[in-house]
C-alpha cells in the first residue's frame, strides 16, 4: 500500500484562534463585545453575593450580618430539606435505601460486569419493594413512618423515580398499542394518550387527591402519595408514549418486513428488532421527557405534599427565618440543576454507547 501523507497542520496558535472564533467578522466582533459586557454586568455581583460577602459560619440568623447570602439558613435546615419530617431516629433507613441504589447503579456502570441483565432486573423489580419496606416500615420491627411524614429531596426523588420508572414501560406499551393493527387496542391507546395529554398536570394531581376518593366506595382509602404517584405516572406515560411513537415511526418499514419474513412473532419483532432501534432514535426526546417529569414533581406542593421546593418554601415562611427565601430557592435550583445535568450527561453516554454500530458508516 502507498504510505499516506501526514494530514496538514491545522493548529492556529492563540492569536489565530482568537481571530477565527471571536473576531472573524464585524457581526462576530460585536457579539464578542456584547458577550463580554453582559458577563461583566452579571457575574461580579452574583459572585459577590453568593461567595465573597456570604455567611457560612454560625447556626442562627444573627450570624448573618454580611450583605451577601446567608448559607447558614441552608446549613441549619439541610436535614429537613433532605428528609422532610421523616423522624430523625429513622433517617438511616432512607440513607440505607439510597446507598443500596447507588451501589446497584455503580455495578451497572462497570463495563465488563457479568450478569448485568440480572442486576438491572433486580434494580427495577426487587429494589422498589426493598425501598418501600425500608421507608414505610411495619415489618422486622421497623416502626411505621406514614407517608405524610415523608418530604424534601427524599420525596422528590421517590415521586420522580417512580414516575420515570413507570413512564417508560407504560409509554412503550401505549406507543405500540397506538400503532397496533387491532382497531380496539389502537382506539383505547389513542384515547388514553390524548386524554392525559389534554389535561393539565395540576388538574391531574387535584383529581387524584380530591376527586378520586369521591368515586371510590366508602371505606376504601388510598394513600395520598400513592394516588399522586399513580396519576403522575399515567400522565408521564402518555407523554413518553408519543416520544416513543416518534421513534417507532423512524424505523424503516423494511426492518419490520425483514423481521416478519424471518418468522419472528410480534413481541419478539418489537423487542429484538424494532424497539432497540426506535428507542435509540427517541433517546433525546425520552430524556427531555424525564427531565420535565423530574422538575414537575415540584407541583405536588399544591396537594399538600412537601417535596424539596415545598419544604424550602414552608421553612422560609417560618418567622424565625423570615427573609431568606432567595437562598432557599437558589439552593433548590442548584439541586434540581445538578440532578438534571447528571441525567443529561448520563443519557449522552448511553447514546454514544448505543450508536457504536454507526462508527465507520
Amino acid at each position: 500500500m502507498r504510505p499516506s501523507a501526514p494530514p496538514p497542520d491545522q493548529s492556529l496558535g492563540a492569536l489565530g484562534w482568537l481571530r477565527a472564533n471571536l473576531f472573524s467578522s464585524v457581526g462576530n466582533t460585536l457579539l464578542t463585545f456584547v458577550g463580554v459586557a453582559l458577563f461583566l454586568i452579571v457575574v461580579p455581583p452574583v459572585v459577590e453575593w453568593a461567595v465573597l460577602e456570604a455567611t457560612v459560619a454560625g447556626t442562627t440568623k444573627q450570624a448573618c450580618d454580611g450583605g451577601g447570602a446567608c448559607w447558614v439558613f441552608i446549613k441549619v435546615h439541610l436535614p429537613q430539606f433532605i428528609y422532610g419530617f421523616y423522624p430523625e431516629a429513622e433517617r438511616w433507613r432512607v440513607n440505607l435505601a439510597f446507598a443500596i441504589l447507588v451501589g446497584l447503579v455503580a455495578l451497572l456502570f462497570i463495563r465488563p460486569m457479568p450478569k448485568k441483565g440480572w442486576i438491572a432486573a433486580f434494580t427495577a423489580v426487587v429494589f422498589p419493594f426493598i425501598a418501600y419496606l425500608l421507608f414505610f416500615g411495619g415489618i422486622f420491627g421497623l416502626p411505621v413512618v406514614p407517608t405524610s411524614e415523608w418530604g424534601g429531596l427524599f420525596l422528590t426523588l421517590i415521586i420522580a423515580g417512580v414516575a420515570i420508572a413507570a413512564s417508560l414501560p407504560l409509554g412503550i406499551l401505549l406507543a405500540l398499542g397506538r400503532r397496533s393493527e387491532m382497531p380496539v387496542v389502537q382506539a383505547v391507546c389513542t384515547v388514553f394518550i390524548e386524554f392525559w395529554r389534554g389535561v393539565p398536570l395540576i388538574t391531574v394531581l387535584f383529581m387524584a387527591s380530591v376527586m378520586l376518593p369521591l368515586f371510590l366506595p366508602g371505606g376504601v382509602t388510598f394513600d395520598k402519595l400513592l394516588r399522586a404517584m399513580v396519576g403522575w405516572a399515567l400522565f408521564a406515560g402518555a407523554y413518553t408514549a408519543e416520544v416513543v411513537r416518534g421513534g417507532l415511526a423512524g424505523v424503516p418499514p423494511g426492518q419490520y418486513e425483514a423481521a416478519k419474513a424471518l418468522g419472528l412473532g410480534y413481541w419478539r419483532r418489537m423487542r429484538l428488532i424494532i424497539l432497540p432501534q426506535a428507542l435509540r432514535i427517541a433517546i433525546p426526546g425520552i430524556v427531555n421527557s424525564f427531565l420535565a417529569i423530574f422538575k414537575d414533581t415540584t407541583l405536588v406542593l399544591i396537594i399538600g405534599l412537601f417535596d424539596l421546593l415545598g419544604i424550602i418554601q414552608a421553612i422560609a415562611t417560618d418567622p424565625e427565618w423570615l427573609g431568606y427565601a432567595v437562598e432557599g430557592y437558589v439552593f433548590a435550583a442548584a439541586v434540581f440543576w445538578a440532578f438534571c445535568y447528571a441525567m443529561s450527561k448520563y443519557s449522552m453516554r448511553v447514546e454514544r454507547q448505543l450508536n457504536r454500530h454507526k462508527q465507520g458508516v
Partner: protein
C-alpha cells in the same frame, strides 16, 4: 371418486412448494393481482419479470404473507395462508426472503443478524447457531466480516449477508425481490454468483429480477407479468427466443435495449 384419487389429490399438494389458486388482491380499489394461478414444484427455480408496477413484488410478498391476498388460495409447503398467525409464522419459518434494500438489522453485527432468528424462532442453541451462521457466511464468502456491523459493509457485501441470514433459517423456499437492483454494477456479479450457486444446490427459488442473464442460466421457468396478470409462462429458452405475446415482446425489446 375413489380413495386412490383422493390420496393422489393429497400428494398433489406435497408436490408443489408454492401454489396460487385464482388469487386476487386489491390495494383499495386498485386491483394488483388478477386471477393468479401458479404452481411451483420443490426445487424449481422461477424468475418473475415484467414492467414496473405489474405486481411482481406483490406476488412474491404474498408467498410469506407480507401482503395478504383477498380471494383465492395460496398454499406454501402444504400450509394454507389465512388470517391465522400461527400458520403464517409456520410458513415464514420455511421461507427465506431477500429484499432489494437488504434490510439488515443495523444495530446487530453480521453474525448476530444471522443467528437471531435461528435462536429465537428455531430454538437452536447459541453456539450451534453461530457455527451454522459461520458456515453460511463462508458460503456467501464473507466470513471475515462476522463481527462487523452492516453499516460498515458495501452494498454487495450487505446483500450477501442478507442471503446468509435467510439461509441460516434453513428454509425450503427462497424469495428474492430484485436483489441486485440497488447495487452498483461491479457488485451485481458477486451477488448473482451466490444466487447461481444456491440454485445449483437445488433450492426452490422465486426470483424477481431484470437480470436476464441470470434467468437464462438458472431459471426453469420465466413468469412474465403485466398489469397484475401472469401473461406468459415458459422455459427461458422459449420465453427469450420466441415470446408468444405482444406484451412480452415489447417488454423484452425494452429490457434488451439497455
Amino acid at each position: 371418486m375413489t380413495r386412490v384419487n383422493d390420496s393422489n389429490a393429497d400428494s398433489g399438494d406435497v408436490r408443489s412448494a408454492v401454489r396460487f389458486e385464482d388469487v386476487n388482491k386489491w390495494f383499495g380499489d386498485f386491483q394488483v393481482l388478477r386471477d393468479i394461478n401458479l404452481d411451483v414444484a420443490p426445487g424449481e427455480r422461477i424468475v418473475v419479470c415484467g414492467p414496473s408496477g405489474s405486481g411482481k413484488s406483490t406476488l412474491i410478498r404474498c408467498v410469506n404473507r407480507l401482503e395478504p391476498h383477498q380471494t383465492g388460495r395460496i398454499v406454501v409447503n402444504d400450509v394454507e395462508l389465512t388470517e391465522d398467525v400461527r400458520q403464517i409464522e409456520r410458513v415464514r419459518r420455511e421461507v427465506g426472503m431477500v429484499f432489494q434494500t437488504f434490510n439488515l438489522f443495523p444495530h446487530l453485527t453480521v453474525l448476530e443478524n444471522c443467528t437471531l432468528a435461528p435462536i429465537w424462532v428455531r430454538k437452536v442453541p447459541k453456539a450451534e447457531a453461530q457455527a451454522l451462521a459461520m458456515e453460511y457466511l463462508e458460503r456467501v464468502q464473507i466470513p471475515e466480516k462476522a463481527e462487523a456491523f452492516p453499516g460498515q459493509l458495501s452494498g454487495g457485501q450487505q446483500q450477501r449477508v442478507a442471503i446468509a441470514r435467510a439461509l441460516a433459517m434453513q428454509p425450503r423456499i427462497m424469495l428474492f425481490d430484485e436483489p441486485t437492483s440497488a447495487l452498483d454494477p461491479e457488485m451485481i456479479k458477486e451477488v448473482l454468483d451466490v444466487m447461481v450457486e444456491l440454485a445449483r444446490s437445488g433450492m426452490t427459488m422465486l426470483v424477481v429480477t431484470h437480470e436476464m442473464g441470470f434467468a437464462k442460466e438458472v431459471a426453469d421457468r420465466v413468469v412474465f407479468m403485466d398489469e397484475g396478470e401472469i401473461v406468459e409462462e415458459a422455459p427461458p429458452r422459449k420465453f427469450f427466443g420466441e415470446p408468444e405475446t405482444v406484451r412480452a415482446r415489447q417488454f423484452l425489446s425494452q429490457i434488451l435495449a439497455h
